[in-house]
């Protein structure tokens, strides 16, 4: 089974891109399944189910969705193997742009959209910088110049990645993406023992553990303070 980890900011078009790509893969007889991760709510699993794609949904609830991903990916890969998939795609939305779910040795795809603004490549951390493939969506509604500037900036923060424009509505570019996602020679049996590409940020302050009261007296653990400098007047 092939495994691909797709990630990207909320509403960047991940599901639309994956659905169009699966349509192209299906026409070549590749059996694809999806696991959708989200934080509080998603009904994207219905969209996959409607398209006849085997799908699982994971809601992280009170946990960081990327941490939740890391704790569940092993079992998910087992599910994919048992479902006899040729390709398993995991889809997750980064929330704080600091974590990234990519594993070493597993293809990582970041989906970002042209509408998010030209400073976005600078704001997203390892999620964008350590992806193998960057899919840029919504190119059909911004100008050529903005597409060029956006792609150039993505390339500046991640010169290794292949950058591919894909239109989630018309599917333009999805066939091309599908050829880069599925490689019958690449087989993943298990992800046990694999490593994340980038460590997730340190947390565990008192607020992680349910503290609700504000004030220094209630702050324990990994607490960081802003440097506000000296008052001006």
């Amino acid at each position: 089974m092939n495994l691909t980890i797709v990630s990207g900011p909320p509403s960047s078009g991940k599901t639309a891109v994956i659905l169009k790509t699966i349509a192209a893969l299906k026409s070549r007889g590749v059996k694809v399944g999806v696991v959708k991760f989200d934080c509080l709510y998603t009904d994207d699993d219905k969209a996959y189910a409607e398209a006849g794609v085997p799908v699982q949904k994971g809601l992280s609830g009170a946990l960081c969705p990327d941490h939740f991903f890391a704790s569940n990916i092993e079992e998910i890969v087992r599910w994919g193997k048992q479902s006899e998939l040729d390709l398993l795609i995991t889809e997750s939305a980064g929330l704080c742009n600091r974590c990234s779910p990519y594993l070493k040795q597993v293809k990582g795809v970041c989906v970002i959209d042209n509408l998010s603004g030209i400073n976005t490549p600078r704001k997203i951390g390892p999620l964008l910088k350590s992806a193998d493939l960057v899919v840029i969506t919504k190119g059909d509604i911004v100008s050529q110049a903005e597409r060029e500037v956006f792609a150039a900036r993505v390339s500046s923060v991640n010169p290794r990645a292949l950058i591919l424009p894909v239109n989630g509505l018309t599917g333009q570019g999805a066939y091309e993406l599908s050829t880069l996602l599925y490689n019958p020679d690449l087989q993943v049996e298990t992800v046990q023992g694999m490593q994340l590409r980038f460590p997730m940020p340190a947390a565990l302050c008192s607020y992680c553990l349910g503290e609700t009261r504000i004030g220094q007296a209630f702050q324990l653990g990994n607490v960081k303070k802003m440097d506000l400098g000296e008052p001006e007047a």
Partner: protein, 329 residues
């Protein structure tokens, strides 16, 4: 590169500055260090806090510089002269009915066919420089040879630029800021001169002139389109331009096409507007996913075009009168 100081690096390859900027690395005050020494000055806490990996950044910097050198060199080395489409098959598996279709720079070809007939697929085949590896089985040749993979994989060297009616400016910038930004990302040697050139060209296309300090988001439909076309013609690296209709109002479409071909572009234009379709010397008829006919515009059609242009001029004049608050006579 590893032995150069940041100051030497920037003097030799000024575009390195953008790498540091986009990666949020403030190098001011550290110019006498090498990149590796600069990255070594961060404490482990700072590295974790800023999600930085020095080894990866150094490797990325080397790769970035190499890509930029290629990018600058390629502009002169590989001009596109011809684009050739070798036939594939339509959605029913029928072979396309043409032998070899070669388009030359400064040529305009129109594409006609119902919605869903396969225009997007044809464009995607060209953009991806298909080599029999897409659903149509078409093959694309550049200068009569299979294309360099850079057309497929380079983010800065896309074969096709696209213009459509649905495209908008979304940046919060003035026209000047916008053009400046585009020129910088293209590493243009003289952003101020090219900005002036694009402004002049865009105002020749637009029905109503606009200024450099106009925010791009407050341009009218015609002005936006004029600016997009002038910018794509003059500043985009892509040698092929695909146009999906140009609106009728507020822009001189004949001049727009002339501007594109004057910049040695190959223009492919999906349109059902007879004025535009007949301005092309050839048109591709697409049906059920395949190119079913390649028509050369006949002398009779060119004569028809003349009549249609006269009609268009009448309508344009009436529109102008309305705009000025006059009565139509």
């Amino acid at each position: 590169m590893t032995n150069q100081t940041l100051a030497q690096l920037l003097a030799q390859q000024p575009y390195a500055a953008d790498f540091f900027k986009q990666n949020k690395l403030d190098i001011s005050g550290f110019e006498q260090l090498t990149p590796a020494e600069y990255l070594a000055h961060f404490s482990p806490e700072e590295l974790e806090d800023r999600a930085l990996e020095p080894e990866r950044l150094l490797a990325d910097l080397a790769l970035y510089l190499e890509q930029m050198r290629d990018f600058l060199g390629l502009d002169e080395q590989q001009p596109l002269r011809t684009l050739t489409i070798l036939p594939g098959r339509d959605k029913a598996g029928q072979a396309e009915d043409f032998e070899r279709l070669t388009l030359h720079t400064s040529e305009i070809v129109s594409i006609v066919g119902p919605t869903g007939s396969g225009k997007s697929r044809l464009l995607a085949d060209i953009e991806w420089a298909a080599q029999g590896d897409t659903p149509t089985g078409r093959r694309i040749l550049i200068n009569d040879a299979p294309p360099d993979p850079q057309w497929r994989y380079s983010s800065r060297h896309k074969l096709v630029a696209q213009l459509s009616q649905n495209m908008n400016f979304v940046m919060d910038l003035t026209v000047q800021g916008f053009l400046q930004l585009h020129a910088e990302s293209r590493l243009h040697p003289d952003p101020a001169a090219v900005t002036r050139e694009i402004m002049t060209a865009a105002n020749r296309l637009a029905g109503e002139a606009f200024a450099l300090d106009t925010p791009v988001t407050s341009l009218s439909g015609g002005q936006s389109r004029a600016l997009m076309i002038a910018d794509t013609a003059i500043l985009s690296a892509s040698p092929i331009v695909l146009i999906d209709e140009i609106e009728n109002a507020g822009i001189d479409r004949k001049r727009a096409l002339e501007l594109l071909v004057a910049q040695d572009k190959i223009v492919l234009m999906a349109t059902h507007d007879p004025l535009l379709a007949l301005m092309a010397n050839r048109r591709l008829v697409i049906n059920n996913g395949g190119i079913c006919q390649v028509l050369t515009t006949s002398p009779a059609e060119k004569a028809k075009l003349g009549q249609l242009q006269q009609l268009d001029a009448v309508i344009a004049a009436a529109r102008q009168q309305l705009r000025r608050g006059q009565r139509l006579s």
